[in-house]
């Protein structure tokens, strides 16, 4: 499964408790839509670090990297590319 698919599956299953995929669009803001609060963002980061073997630095904890599925996909993809 691609990055976005894995993150989406995780959010739908573990955060939204089995919600329908149509309830989470790729561009929906996690914070604005109430899917994640600030603690939830830290939870998401723990998931990303564990699942993709990356290390999210403090300065990377910004909405541009983590607030939508699109952003997460771009951010994690970039990190993995650098690691390769």
């Amino acid at each position: 499964m691609d990055i976005k698919g894995q993150v989406k599956a995780y959010i739908l299953e573990d955060i939204m408790m089995g919600a329908d995929p149509s309830e989470l669009s790729d561009s929906a803001s996690f914070l604005d839509s109430g899917i994640l609060d600030s603690t939830g963002v830290v939870e998401l980061i723990s998931f990303l670090e564990k699942t993709f073997g990356i290390k999210v630095r403090d300065e990377e904890m910004i909405p541009e990297n983590l607030d939508t599925l699109f952003n997460v996909e771009r951010f994690v993809g970039g990190k993995l590319k650098v690691q390769v």
Binding site: S38, T39, V41, V42, E49, D58, E59, M61, I62
Partner: protein, 342 residues
């Protein structure tokens, strides 16, 4: 245009002068009258139990309770534990001596030890700092990168020589440390209700408006109470009320701390992110419909920063909603309280 906004000139920015000023005598009268009414009619109890931490909020509540029903109908509890600072313990003693109320002091460290409070905390810390020892001190602090970054928590541990190590807290360790520390507030509440039950008293909750509104309390811990006399007052107003009631100067000048972690920890660095005077202003501005530009002008920060403060106020209100909420029922029950009542 709001009432608050209309007090300003069209070109004037900021918050109205003395926006937190209240009639202190009248406020004391209103609160004490309501306490007596609540005891007689709502609660049907014969007195009040107040846990006195040494902080300004519990000191003000104890003073209000004493004024409301007299010292003989108040029981103050001093409930220190291993991480309580000697300063706050001393201030707590000062408060009860000053008020002349009966009090009981119980060290809750043995209970917390038996529950595993310290062990659960230390186990979580050691996953990040393996060399951590029981004699070391620790705290967690709210951290944020500049700009619009998310806030997160760092763990700070200090060894016996005073050297500090700082680590970002992953989610699971953050939860475990906070859960362990919440034992402290819940054990205190357990003891408060024991004494309330045996004396047929009501339990006083001591949150101020910032804490009540923003969810800075432990559910079923310090959040549990029968009456919360200062939950409508901003922290600045609580200090003013305490001075008005003649509480000792050292109590009225105390700096708000959590007194929960073994390293000194301000409430601003653990939860609010701003000193209480600024948080009071921000919350007041938010509640009175003022703009981020007004708040920015008052605080001397950028408009973007003020907007961020407003966003965080709303974000914490989301957290507070859960903390205030009654259990969810699958079907309505006629006698059940309203869900999410605040």
């Amino acid at each position: 245009m709001t009432g608050a906004r209309s007090k300003l000139n069209a070109t004037e920015r900021g918050l109205p002068r003395n926006f937190l000023e209240i009639d202190l005598a009248s406020t004391v009268e209103t609160i004490t009258k309501r306490i007596r009414e609540a005891l007689a009619h709502d609660l049907r109890k014969r007195g009040l139990v107040v846990a006195v931490s040494g902080g300004i909020d519990s000191a003000a509540c104890a003073a209000l309770a004493t004024r409301a029903v007299g010292p003989d109908k108040v029981l103050a509890l001093l409930l220190p534990e291993r991480d309580s600072s000697t300063t706050t313990q001393s201030l707590g003693q000062t408060v009860v001596s000053h008020l002349g109320v009966p009090h009981i002091r119980q060290d809750i460290a043995p209970i917390l030890e038996a529950l595993g409070c310290y062990r659960w905390r230390d186990d979580a810390i050691r996953t990040l700092v393996p060399e951590y020892r029981e004699t070391w001190k620790s705290k967690i602090v709210l951290t944020r990168q500049s700009g619009a970054g998310y806030h997160f928590f760092n763990l700070i541990v200090q060894d016996d020589q005073g050297h500090q190590i700082e680590r970002r807290l992953p989610h699971s360790q953050y939860l475990q440390i906070v859960a362990a520390m919440n034992f402290k507030q819940r054990v205190r509440k357990l003891i408060e209700y024991f004494h309330a039950d045996r004396m047929n008293y009501a339990v006083v909750g001591t949150p101020n408006r910032l804490e009540y509104d923003q969810g800075f309390f432990v559910k079923n811990g310090d959040g549990a109470a029968d009456i919360k006399p200062i939950a409508h007052l901003y922290k600045t107003q609580v200090y003013a009320l305490a001075r008005h009631m003649g509480l000792p100067p050292e109590v009225c000048q105390s700096v708000p701390t959590t007194d929960t972690y073994s390293l000194p920890q301000g409430q601003d660095e653990f939860y609010f992110g701003l000193p209480y005077e600024q948080m009071d202003a921000a919350l007041w501005a938010r509640d009175h419909g003022l703009s981020a530009l007004d708040l920015a002008s008052h605080l001397g920060v950028s408009e973007a920063h003020a907007q961020q403060i407003f966003r965080e106020i709303e974000s914490k209100r989301q957290v507070a909603r859960y903390l205030h909420a009654h259990p969810v029922l699958i079907e309505g029950v006629s006698s059940s309280p309203v869900t999410h009542a605040r």
